[in-house]
Symmetry: C2
């Protein structure tokens, strides 16, 4: 497998500019003419606006779409799994057994899901530039954060809105994105885990594939289904081979505009070190699951998260390790450097490269401390040394008490007024927290803290004292009241006084380490991030100067639109056709996990049209974060549901290769077939309102 | 920590030739004059022969020394841990509680330890060259193996001898090493694991240090203690700071003569991929140990092995990842290339570099299959996909039946007549095998097989069929009779007929995969190893031609002698003094593992002279495999016992930096103090026969 990636990427990844159907375009700068030239279809502004308003972001890291006028949202099973797991108990395991709400009244509120719909885009580049002019290092970072907070705060006129200043082209453009925010989100339908993730980790990021990775949620307003005028239609027959299709969604992060120095750090340090960390935690969870069925149930979603991330990062690493691919990135930079050198202000641009290269040395020196003592963002809510749901909440309470006492523009960004609603929802989520899993993870994390920093590091001495990691974890988990959302609420509302007075052992642990964590974060931000950001802005400026603004920005977990066609690919000598059929799932089943079909599917086999297309692939340019994205046709009808990319697409973090990168989706025909004949979910099928008869393919 | 490695290595590792006290010298080419110039001491040939005959190799991967005329061997606790664990039961846990044989009759035979003493060295380079002249690829490999087998076989006149053709200077020289072989080896003394490995993984490869990592074994002949005329004396006072000291032992493997292409593969693929693999297994074992005390006891040694290897490989990887260090290796090769290019036959030498570089591409392509389907050597007796004691023995039986039917010079090398005694000892070892550990490991390994090759790979389909990895492992482990050494013996002696007729499920599993395993091994050997070997010989020839033979060969787990001085080092601004004292162990103790002192030490505290030196460091050039090596003075008296290197020494695989690389040893004074006052082991103390009064320091 890997060799094939090597050869193909190497040949195909040379072009420095967006070629073919490449691109994760912002809705306000979609390449209409280019699309028209390539595919004979030019979307109107109204078409684009409708697509944007019909698409949503799941704040936890996914995408989705409105598929009815009554707030019905389609996304992946794996995007709703925290909700499904949070609603499950040992007696009623929705994760294993699936869920269909027979009536609207039966729809279950998710403990912690936020849905965002992008309603406005405004350019604020000039304001940001003015605020940070002439600054660097910590001063640059502070000014940037403060101006961002001021812009967001002025926009944020109600809790129903989410205003975010978005950094595009690595700082070439700053936009203010205004989202409508939905926090009352309910579970309508989820299939069994076994069919949602049929083939499990072995088939993850592979194709041919046979997954029904879908869930339906519904957004509510004032206790009633929200009215969603803008929504996609439905194509019951799915797409045809070669058909032009669109994917809208929120690709999480690409690194296509990074410098070679940054990419080398990814290849030589960040990615392999991450993989080593993930591998150990994965092993720990596999070992933990030997304790029995309940241990398995309560750690399954977590294991899935690690395995998925492990395989994804492996694919990215493998791509960067292909010498020919990496050399193509080096060449691309060399060419750009040459152009920049000839430009007005050329020296300034070249100096920016050097500054970024220097920052990589600091990065390597600080990374271990930063990872093990501090964590900077929501997505690292499970940091390396202090993992777990409890510690994350303890830190949020401790740090939040201090931050909320400050003016909005002086806070850490995750505690700004704009950010608080999502943070509070997570903080107070009633989803169950499993003490044994927490204890095992925290003990392991504290052991890693000692391992990575050494037993004589001041932070290690302070945290561990004369106790063992296992003892501290056991004491903190068994003694804490943070399992109780009401207790968290009282501390959160009590602010600094309540936090200072608390003798809760998990709060005490978070309090103990917070000064050190803040210190390393500050150092990291000023010596690494600020340098990278500041100089990336200069490079972005240079790139605009010499190449214009004809291309798309790196992905930043903001709404994007891509186009492509339904198309297989060649893997070595083998042609991979674009569609699989329902029959294939039955053929692949072994009766043993992860190749075990759920009972419902075994019973339904005779009722199903086994020739129905199940999954398909397209040439759309996507990455992680696009999970749950709709695939739709030029008439705005859903033909599929993105749930994966093929393994070769994992190099897409760094560059797109249309010959082998593929988006993997569930066919809309399979969705209707399964909802109707396996799950008897006629209520949903009717709401999707199939408008057209099935088309022949 | 890492940053310091970076800076220091970078500066110090430039010199391409052996400088200062660097070098792991063969006993027949020891640099007497160089030593005399540097330290004013020139050993005689008799001195060297005595040192060689007083030193031993433990076939499992360690070093040791004769320390009495009656076969008493001193080595590390961690070198005897398989023996100690093998003699332990849940009721009588020698590993945790230690062991002192009150009389010679109480000494316990180790299940699987072989001790080798090097008695003769003969040059066979010409014979090998003649046999392989003009050959390459598989033919080269076969001719090399066959001639090796013929030479060894002719030498191998009794089972008490072990004849090995040894490849030095990466093929520049082939020597025939004749060892006396001892297989009746008994445990005399071992301290508790807690003091042998005080500080555990966190303190491993670190200094200051407080370990009593010692054990005493005794070699027997005909049921009686062997007479060992050549043995070291004893210095009860230990060494002085600055004193010249020697270390003899068997450094396992260094890669100082590899090409840059090979080193890049180590840095970019072999090492990080190994770390990822080890990390997951380590996590699995940590999780497994949550099952309880017996799970912990039965997997402790295994976990220790993985953690030790993990930290060692991490240090090696970190060294290679220091850009300045790697650049120094690149420069070194560039300089040598330039010299070779000017030499007669220059083109041939340069072509060898290219051939080796090309072999790295094949290496990357084949490595995963080779690791997961086959295993090539004793040291990978725990291969990635088929781990465990049972499968290793099943494969040995299955493959051995086929190989032993062939003439000696056509067998796989590990089944040659010379190799069989050690292999059979391991095969038939009565050490207990723990079914639960076996089951968990095998299930995990089979899962990795599927993960790494993909569920549709022919070998995966063949091995797994419709079963899950856990089911196959459970079936094979619960159904096999291989736990019983007598059963293994009957199959081994029954040969191919017995193997073919067996319905033992573990034998069946090994039989099933053997053709595929052999095929990938053959491919690996002919397309990777043979190319590397053949061309390394050419490069060695070139190096001798342009630089003469003034340096030492890469380590190959054969007896070597190094010299150095007792000396601390500077770590950044900090000076690390060369000695620790017994008092330090008590200060460092927290009462919690791994910083918990055993009861015996707590009780003995008042009796001990706490100022006694406990551990010390020297500038000797060692690597893994030197564990258990004696540190001795110019009069041939033991002053210490090597058990570790500092973390900075892990880069020693690739180059030696005298400013920071340090050997870590137990002081002979601490050994006497502990044996006498903690363990009341007067029988051993008297046998060590301290000849001199303690010296003032």
């Amino acid at each position: 497998m890997r060799r094939i990636i090597a050869a193909t990427l190497a040949i195909a990844l040379a072009p420095p500019l967006a070629a073919a159907d490449e691109g994760m375009w912002t809705f306000d700068a979609f390449p209409k003419e280019k699309l028209h030239r390539a595919h004979g279809f030019a979307p109107t502004d109204a078409w684009l606006e409708h697509a944007r308003l019909s698409s949503v972001r799941l704040a936890g890291g996914c995408s989705g779409s409105f598929v009815s006028p009554n707030g019905l949202v389609m996304t992946n099973h794996h995007c709703a799994q925290e909700c499904i797991q949070g609603l499950s108990t040992a007696e009623k395991d929705l994760f294993a057994n699936g869920f269909t709400a027979p009536t609207q009244a039966d729809e279950l509120r998710c403990p912690d899901v936020e849905v965002n719909q992008l309603v406005a885009i405004a350019d604020v580049t000039a304001r940001i530039r003015k605020a940070t002019a002439g600054l660097s290092g910590e001063a640059f970072q502070k000014a940037l954060d403060a101006e961002t907070a001021r812009i967001e705060s002025a926009c944020q006129t109600s809790a129903d809105l989410l205003c975010q200043v978005v950094r595009l082209y690595r700082g070439g453009v700053y936009d203010l994105y205004t989202y409508r925010r939905y926090q009352d989100v309910r579970l309508v339908f989820a299939p069994e885990f076994r069919i949602a993730f049929f083939g499990g980790d072995p088939d993850n990021f592979e194709f041919p594939r046979y997954d029904l990775d879908v869930s339906f949620l519904r957004v509510y307003q004032d206790g009633k289904p929200a009215a969603t005028k803008d929504h996609f239609g439905w194509s019951p027959g799915g797409p045809k081979e070669g058909e032009l299709v669109f994917v809208s969604g929120n690709p999480g992060e690409t690194k296509r505009l990074l410098t070679v120095a940054q990419l080398a750090d990814e290849r030589d340090a960040a990615l392999p070190e991450t993989l080593i960390r993930f591998a150990e935690t994965r092993g720990l969870l596999l070992g933990y699951q030997l304790l029995g069925a309940e241990a398995k149930r309560t750690s399954m979603e977590l294991l899935f998260t690690y395995e998925n991330a492990f395989k994804a990062r492996t694919g990215e690493w493998d791509a960067l390790r292909q010498p020919a691919f990496f050399e193509s990135l080096v060449r691309r930079e060399r060419d750009l450097r040459a152009k920049l050198a000839r430009a007005k202000d050329g020296k300034r641009y070249l100096a920016a490269y050097d500054a970024i290269a220097k920052a990589q040395v600091r990065k390597r020196a600080l990374r271990v401390q930063r990872l093990y003592v501090d964590t900077a963002s929501r997505h690292e809510s499970r940091p390396a040394a202090f993992p777990g749901e409890l510690f994350f909440r303890a830190r949020t309470i401790v740090r939040g008490a201090a931050e909320r006492a400050k003016p909005n523009d002086q806070r850490l960004p995750e505690f700004s007024e704009a950010s608080l609603p999502a943070l509070v929802q997570t903080l107070l989520s009633p989803a169950p927290i499993y003490p044994d899993v927490e204890r095992v993870r925290l003990a392991h994390g504290l052991g890693k803290l000692r391992e990575m920093l050494g037993p004589d590091h001041p932070v290690v001495r302070k945290v561990l004292g004369k106790e063992s990691p296992a003892e501290i974890a056991a004491r903190a988990v068994s003694g804490t009241k943070l399992f109780d959302p009401a207790f968290r609420k009282s501390l959160w509302e009590g602010g600094a006084a309540a936090v200072d007075a608390s003798d809760d052992p998990m709060i005490a642990l978070a309090r103990l380490v917070d000064p050190d964590a803040r210190a390393i974060r500050r150092q990291w931000e000023s010596e690494v991030e600020a340098v990278e950001k500041k100089n990336a802005e200069i490079l972005a400026e240079g790139r605009f100067a010499v190449e214009g603004r004809s291309t798309y920005p790196d992905a930043t977990f903001t709404p994007r639109l891509s186009y492509g066609v339904v198309k297989g690919w060649k893997q070595g000598d083998r042609s991979i056709p674009p569609f699989t059929r329902l029959a294939g799932a039955y053929e692949r089943a072994t009766g043993k996990d992860p190749f075990q079909l759920p009972e419902s599917w075994i019973r339904a086999k005779d009722r199903l049209d086994l020739e129905t297309p199940m999954n398909f692939v397209t040439t759309n340019d996507i990455v992680g974060g696009n999970s749950g994205s709709p695939v739709f046709d030029r008439e705005g009808r859903i033909v599929g549901l993105v749930f994966d990319g093929n393994r070769l697409s994992l190099g897409g973090d760094f560059g797109f290769d249309e010959t082998v990168n593929r988006t993997v989706a569930v066919d809309s025909a399979a969705l209707i077939e399964a909802l109707s004949k396996v799950y008897g979910a006629s209520r949903i099928v009717e709401e999707l309102a199939p408008a057209q008869p099935a088309r022949a393919r």
